[in-house]
């Protein structure tokens, strides 16, 4: 991302209504601010209350997500939407197992392309998975066990 990252609901972060702004003092470059306009990113940031006193780590997470999205040429809301399908008869939304698997492989490919190894590879891949998890897509993470 993100020449393609268009503001969704507000022209500036201060009036975006993002719950993250009250929980986290997130400031950054234009790309970061543009990222925070997306509903899915706002939901993610609002959900990461486990880390609310570490806004520096949030910026790092936003960077990883931005890099991944650029690698697959998608915007954040679009990635979330891609993972869901609707049942033909009821219209009920459900997570597509196949598409989730595709995204999981894309995450692994991105991690590999970045040259991350060891714990960084696991942790950075899981940053993207965290974004998906907070947007209702249960996606299997990996654990770093030092092996």
């Amino acid at each position: 991302m993100t020449p393609r990252a268009r503001p969704r609901s507000a022209s500036s972060p201060s009036d975006s209504g993002c719950p993250c702004e009250s929980a986290l003092d997130v400031t950054g470059d234009d790309a970061t601010q543009a990222q925070l306009q997306f509903v899915s990113v706002q939901r993610w940031v609002a959900g990461t209350t486990y880390d609310e006193e570490h806004s520096d780590r949030l910026r790092q997470r936003l960077d990883v997500l931005r890099g991944f999205l650029a690698s697959i040429d998608r915007e954040p809301d679009s990635l979330v939407a891609f993972c869901f399908l609707r049942k033909k008869d009821t219209g009920e939304r459900f997570v597509s197992t196949k598409r989730r698997g595709v995204v999981n492989e894309q995450i692994d490919s991105y991690v590999q392309a970045q040259g991350w190894t060891g714990k960084a590879a696991v942790a950075n891949g899981n940053i993207v998975r965290s974004f998906l998890i907070h947007n209702g897509i249960p996606i299997g993470g990996k654990a770093w066990t030092g092996g």
């Binding site: 942790a123 299997g140 993470g141 990996k142 654990a143 030092g146």
Partner: protein
């Protein structure tokens, strides 16, 4: 550990210490606890396969995961795959007659070898086995009794345990599981990497909401003195507090240690 405290201490553990192996004797004790569980018609309803983490490749562990059974496979030193068995009818007659001979099924309660041959087996056990839904109910219920005892035996030995779903197709090939076994749960076993009491006891509704006296809907009345005794003996413990900062901090530390999504 006292029995009431074992029950009170059990939680589903989701973070295990991958570097601290589980002593084989503790696994044996868990299996024997399962083996000693109550079982109808003396049947063998449950089969289990114990697999150590290092016996599964990274690729296999990935394949065994489901959307919500994820890093437990990476962290837990031991996975026990539990299956229900429908073969209990094959030895049903002999097992029941054993109990008759032992006096566990005495004539005072209507039991005899003839009753086993002509009624208990042919009119109860076999029809149960032949009905798919009833059989599934029977096997699941009886297997659950064994799993519960295995979990409590683990807690009694200072271990953490948790039940979870798993990719049954992958496990079937990996573990050479016969076609007639019904997948139940995978039981993760290990020493907790999290404080097993950190988030308090899981919330439970008062007895009166689910347990009744005489007729359904008439609440079972708790004796406050007994309730207090169970608190003193740690069967009833303080429940967790939502959004507890200490628990959040612990999860953050665990996520950092293992590189997990947060």
């Amino acid at each position: 550990m006292e029995f009431n405290e074992v029950i009170g201490n059990r939680r589903t553990i989701r973070f295990y210490d991958p570097d601290r192996p589980v002593e084989p004797e503790k696994i044996q004790i868990m299996l024997e606890a399962a083996n000693r569980a109550s079982r109808s018609v003396q049947g063998d309803y449950c089969k289990a396969v114990v697999v150590l983490r290092e016996e599964m490749s990274d690729q296999i562990r990935e394949q065994l995961k489901t959307p919500t059974t994820t890093v437990q496979f990476d962290l837990a030193p031991v996975s026990i795959f539990w299956y229900g068995s429908s073969d209990y009818d094959q030895t049903g007659k002999e097992r029941l007659k054993e109990l008759v001979d032992l006096g566990a099924l005495p004539p005072t309660h209507g039991w005899s070898h003839n009753y086993v041959d002509e009624v208990a087996y042919t009119q109860v056990v076999k029809p149960l086995r032949d009905d798919e839904k009833l059989n599934l109910w029977m096997v699941s219920l009886e297997a659950g009794l064994q799993l519960a005892q295995a979990m409590l035996a683990a807690v009694d030995q200072g271990l953490g345990v948790g039940l979870s779903a798993f990719n049954t197709a992958v496990a079937k090939d990996l573990l050479n599981i016969p076609d007639n076994l019904i997948p139940m749960w995978v039981m993760f076993v290990g020493y907790p990497a999290e404080n097993p009491k950190a988030e308090g006891q899981r919330p439970r509704r008062p007895l009166s909401e689910n347990y009744f006296r005489g007729t359904y809907g008439t609440p079972f009345a708790e004796d406050p003195a007994v309730t207090q005794r169970l608190r003193d003996e740690k069967m009833i413990q303080e429940p967790g507090v939502p959004n507890d900062p200490a628990r959040k901090a612990e999860i953050r530390e665990l996520a950092e240690r293992f590189g997990l999504p947060l």
